[in-house]
Amino acid sequence: MSATSATGPLADIRVLEFTTAWAGPFAGRCLAYMGADVIKVEAPEHPDSWRGPRSGGAAGYYPELTPEPDPQNRNLLFNSQNLGKRSLALDLKRPGAMEIMRGLVRDADVILANFTPGVLDRLGIGRRDLAAVNDRIIVVEMPAFGPGGPSSGHQGMGKTMEPAAGMTALMAYPDGTPVLTGPAVMDPTGGLNAVAAIVSALELRERTGRGSSVMVPQVEAAASWIGEFVLEQAETGRTWRPHGNHVPYAAPHGAYPCQGEDQWVAIAVHDDEQWRALCAELGADELAADPAWFELPNRLADQDRLDEALSRLTATHDKTALAHRLQRAGVPAAPVLNGREIALSPEMRQAGMVAELDHPAVGTRTYSTLAFRHSRTPGGHRRAAPLFGEHNDDVLADLLGYDGDHIASLRANGVIADVPVADTDTPRATRTDNASTSAQPTTDEGSDDS
């Protein structure tokens, strides 16, 4: 098992992970967090795209904005989504590699992949092939679309799966311009749905004695997260028409400017009592006294004017102080936090959402953690992301009993590797933003295909 003392509820589970970018690695990271021994199998000629290129990577991905040296082990995208895993760099196309795979599959529980459909079969590691080695193996694929439909062969990425799932049409500024979620929410959505499928398949195995083939079509699965909209459309032919942050059940409801550049407070007023409290906290007696806005239906019908009035009142306030005051007065509100504020947030640390981990190539850094909380068998991120091929020897010696000569031979023949021999597809970029003059990364989230 894992070199760490895993205590999570899945501490008896071993996963062989063939994934790239965000959704698939996120799923594997969840399993590792809950104690599974997750071995990330990477191809030397096609490493996880989030490791970035062998040289010349975008500075914003790297410690101190410095890609060199060793960028493929120092990329924060890869290192954020592969916590707690082991790395085996294995070229499945080389003689001897499939013997290693079969050996690992004998004692594994789950194969996890986010290639396009059919790639696992072409590699000879689909469920049909592997069942002959271990009939209890669960093979999980998470393509953008399920098989059969006209979109089934589509390349899916987080940013393109969101519009295909119907979500983007439900988010727009008042002029009708659609809006995509900043971080591609479809990737962790797909990852979570995959983990739900895996724990379900483990339970099914207890009932049937056999493993199974699992399919998580990410776009179709995500429709369940807007299910009430889908049902309304199906039953009435109506669809919610988006208008910025407006909703049909609360007004005002939106982000309002505060002191400083790009600083905002989010306010959601669900009833008339909250409206009166909001006005009182902002010293806006004239608004509270305006009969045109006494009641929610009137405010819902006049939201643009309401937003303008409120924006003038919030602009002189500190967003965090105002949010705390409003909350004390019973008004749902929050500061709109940026990445720096979240990274430094005492509330995040108190909730256990930040972990400090030491990594041989980047030193001790902080990372976001996950939200699974088990009282008796707690999970956790106990180890940083692996270097490329870091656990080649451990895996082959400890799990398969290979001796040093055998491993050396495999290394000499390129079956296993200690460094990638190819670039990935991560684009190169440099940009600055208002918060810093530092270079910023491109975000290649969701390139979840082969």
Binding site: P63, E64, M157, K159, T168, A196, G227, E228, G330
Partner: protein
């Protein structure tokens, strides 16, 4: 006390992952009740425990006749147990003693009489006794605190919170995973345990690399132009989103910009990224008279990821959803209740929703034998 369902679950023709598992869904939140839906889809017998007037989600959001669409979606596949304080507690205790999982809101104890090896699945907005414990929450508030909102939208306009209840669905999925993982562990230890899932933590977990980026180099993302090869183009009939991370020649050909392929100013990935706004403007000009489906097909044929900004009307009527049977109608004695069929498939197993959401009944038709 009344226990109701128009369509009691029948013995499945094929196995389901959670056959034989009894779940009492005592929650009132979207997150808790969505966790219950996932249990029901995967074969557990799920009882929604409600007050006599019904759980609040019955009245939340748009509705046609009777219950809201939100309630229908969250509670399909469940049965309802309407429990009044004055009811005989005997049948309730009996169910509790048999339950494998109890899903409930925060601010209470694991119910008395629950089996000692049961899983106590507690769902809430933020960790109990934490710094936000006395705050009031909504999707907007969660997305503001979690970081996604600050990076969604345009830099010269207000940040956008998103839509619907996605933060709560993430939490419901997290709760389901945690509880099923605890059932898995129970097989080894013979013991239950408490699992917690909060919206605050679930949203934070979905942040890409907010914390690590700051830790690595002190920077953070904003709503400034997306820094990758992303384009959102307005076609004649709809918007299209494409991501040209690879296969640049495909994009040039789709939009009649082949001349860029021989232009040394666009020869490298880095050079193209620097000029990306200018490139997008050219693509946009070409795309304006084109049909969105044609653009998507041409891009995908050349292995460039592209999709139309599909409306729900598009999707519900689409060939993709028809072939994939994404939706179904659950028999309810009338025209049937619309439902999304499954989240994932497991070969040889039933992982589909299989009964409409339960009606609320006031008649005291206790069926103490159900769920045994």
């Amino acid at each position: 006390m009344s226990l109701s369902s128009d369509q009691p679950p029948t013995a499945p023709a094929t196995p389901s992952p959670l056959d034989g598992v009894l779940v009492l869904d005592h929650s009132t939140s979207v997150a808790g009740q969505y966790a219950g839906r996932l249990f029901a889809m995967n074969g557990a017998e799920v009882v929604l425990v409600e007050p006599p007037e019904g759980t609040p989600t019955r009245r939340r959001g748009a509705r046609a006749e009777g219950d809201s669409f939100l309630f229908q979606h969250l509670n399909q596949g469940k049965r309802s147990l309407a429990l009044a304080p004055t009811d005989d507690e005997g049948p309730w205790r009996e169910l509790l003693a048999r339950a494998d999982v109890v899903v409930r809101d925060q601010r209470g104890d694991h119910p008395d009489h629950a089996a000692p090896d049961s899983v106590d699945c507690v769902v809430g907005d933020t960790p109990e006794s934490g710094p936000y414990d006395d705050w009031s929450f909504s999707e907007l508030v969660h997305q503001a605190l979690g970081g996604a909102m600050n990076t969604t939208g345009l830099l010269d306009r207000p940040p956008i919170y998103g839509l619907g209840e996605r933060a709560s669905y993430a939490t419901g999925t997290t709760a389901y995973i945690s509880a099923v993982a605890a059932l898995h562990e129970r097989r080894r230890s013979g013991r239950g345990q408490r699992v917690d899932a909060t919206v605050f933590e679930s949203v934070a977990a979905m942040g890409q690399n907010l914390v690590s980026q700051y830790s690595y180099n002190g920077t953070h993302e904003t709503r400034a132009r997306y820094p990758g090869f992303l384009a959102m183009l307005q076609c004649a009939d709809a918007w299209v989103v494409l991501f040209v991370i690879r296969n640049w020649p495909t994009a040039c050909r789709v939009f009649g910009c082949e001349h860029l392929l021989d232009d040394p100013r666009y020869a490298t990935s880095g050079a193209r990224l620097e000029k990306w706004p200018e490139i997008v403007a050219m693509f946009q000009e070409a795309a304006r008279p084109m049909l969105a489906d044609d653009v998507v097909e041409a891009c995908q044929n050349g292995r460039v990821s592209a999709e139309k900004v599909s409306s729900l009307a598009d999707l519900v009527d689409s060939e993709q959803w028809r072939v994939r049977e994404v939706m179904t109608r659950l028999p309810d004695g009338g025209t049937g209740q619309a439902a999304l069929r499954s989240v994932f498939t497991i070969e040889g197993a039933n992982t589909e929703v299989r009964a409409p959401s339960p009606p609320l009944r006031s008649s005291p038709d206790v069926d103490a034998g159900w769920g045994a």
